[in-house]
Subunit: 341 residues, 2 copies
């Protein structure tokens, strides 16, 4: 590889000092002679000089880069939110490094340490929840962090989240209005107490009760993605199967759709479905899928703004209340209209 041209080369070539070149690069033209400016411009062009950001970052103690660690990149939610974060950072002239913790606290820890070693100026984390000491330490050091999707109990870091209970509630109400009563719900595993899942289940049960429906425990399950089909099989074995089902997220939805297909069921004739997360294929699926959309763009934007804000003020105060965003029902065609309610 060629010897790279440095600021010293430009300075020599333009017959000025490095300081002056640096001023030029940083557009501090205040007192710079017009001819000096031109000479430097010329030299930069001739030598094909590109500043070394690593050197600048070292000196300035800022990389103008943030890290985002998603719990699991396989959720469309994660990718959409990440896109929004990137867009906002772009505008603020910040770069973004996305890492996937894969639901593994050990990986999350590794990434937090790696990103901090790389001197990112702040972190947006979809926390696994199982690195409390680490989270705590960053809080103590007043290192800029914001949580996304999930809060962490007793760690007062601003969190931007969905109003999860409401997400279930609007789905249940829609089923109810269409005449459904035997309503089931499946979410991903809550073994680790992942709060959005817990909240969605709570919201589901509350909504049923508010409608004076009894909660049938056999109809609400929280399992790993690969156990979804077995969970459904059980529901279908045990007497009367549900007539409507709410999928807790996009991965669960996918499993339900596969189960439906494998068992020759028809949507919505045999089973009505609503999925939380507005999947990309919802519009052109057969039939088009009714979903509860998260405002992913708004959430990502807010998280980025809050983080950038923390980065820009020296002493971030963390009394910011958590942000809860409202989900939205997108009615398509996967819920059967039952006659005579």
């Amino acid at each position: 590889m060629m010897r790279t041209v440095t600021m010293a080369d430009v300075a020599k070539h333009a017959n000025v000092s490095k300081s002056t070149v640096s001023q030029y690069l940083n557009k501090r033209y205040d007192y710079m002679g017009e001819k000096t400016k031109l000479r430097i411009e010329e030299a930069i062009k001739e030598l094909g000089y590109q500043p070394n950001i690593v050197a600048r970052s070292l000196k300035q103690k800022s990389t103008k880069t943030i890290g985002v660690i998603v719990a699991n990149i396989l959720h469309t939610f994660s990718t959409e939110v990440s896109r929004a974060i990137e867009d906002v950072c772009q505008l603020a002239d910040f770069h973004t490094i996305i890492c996937n913790a894969d639901d593994d606290p050990a990986k999350e820890k590794k990434y937090i340490e790696m990103l901090r070693a790389k001197q990112v100026d702040g972190l947006i984390i979809f926390p696994t929840g199982n690195n409390r000491d680490l989270y705590k330490r960053m809080l103590d050091e007043k290192y800029p962090v914001v949580f996304l999707d999930r809060p962490v109990p007793d760690i007062s870091v601003s969190s931007v989240m969905l109003n999860n209970e409401k997400a279930s509630e609007i789905a249940v109400n829609h089923f109810y209005e269409k005449g459904h009563r035997r309503i089931a719900m499946i979410t991903a595993s809550i073994a680790e107490n992942v709060s959005p899942r817990v909240e969605r289940i709570d919201g589901f049960k509350k909504a049923l009760r508010a409608l004076n429906l009894v909660v049938i425990e056999e109809y609400v399950k929280s399992v790993q993605p690969d156990e979804v089909k077995e969970a459904l099989r059980e529901m279908w074995r045990a007497g009367e199967p549900p007539e409507a089902i709410l999928a807790g997220n996009d991965r669960v939805l996918k499993e339900i759709l596969t189960f439906v297909k494998e068992n020759g069921l028809s949507i919505p004739a045999d089973l009505s479905i609503i999925g939380i997360d507005d999947v990309p294929y919802a519009d052109f699926y057969n039939p088009p899928l009714t979903t509860v959309a998260q405002p992913t763009f708004q959430m990502g934007k807010t998280a980025a703004e809050v983080l950038l804000d923390k980065i820009h003020k020296k002493e971030p105060e963390d009394d910011r209340p958590d942000d809860r965003f409202d989900p939205e029902l997108i009615i398509r065609a996967s819920v059967l209209e039952k006659g005579g309610v």
Copy 2:
């Protein structure tokens, strides 16, 4: 934010020199006293010291990071290949920064410059094709680069690509075997001469001719995503519509599927479909979609390996022939079996 603890602090705390701490960190234990080692270990733990990678990178002139610039992140192909690249780099202890050029040469240029300013050790580019000077310069400087998905004429950078002609060929042959003769194809725009699209169309026409079918020009179109439906409308207006259609990529497929739905067509009764790119919902769509899969993982892996290889040897020779990967037909249920061929 707290004052950060540096190597000097550790050295003082352990009563050794910075050099010794550095040796320790880099596991050069050759001649290090056992007690020294322990003292340093102790000091690091007590102070909660984390090395500053930015400083190290500056000195070592290597960031152990590569950049990847995808032409358009909306293609599932791009995201899958990126995942593979990340996996391979991970193993080699390299980090990855993904950027999306959004099919815009100006953005591509910006990202190339930004990433090089950030001192990434090499670049994997899905080239827009319209930054020839830049590509050329990197080649001249012997800066490590590999192209993905598309070659750039006269720029002898190793490229890993699909055997695009074959992708069309196996699709056409499958249609033919099932008894179809009126076969259409739609790809994304070839206004910019994007080579995979051109090659897929060439392959399509060649395959038809090899089968002694005439190429009906009205049946093969290359348009922007938002013009796909109009292109289809024209086919349907003009006399006999096609009985089978090949989608040039996942975005075109999505538009075709939407058109089918909006016009109350039924797959495969009214129209048989094959899509190039094995979309995530192919398996559980109604009906399950027959696709031509690209070996995305293999392609990403190879690109990463070739790049890492270039990075590790001082003088990369670029006579490496282009790599062409074979597509694979995944038969599901979107192609009608016509009786009596």
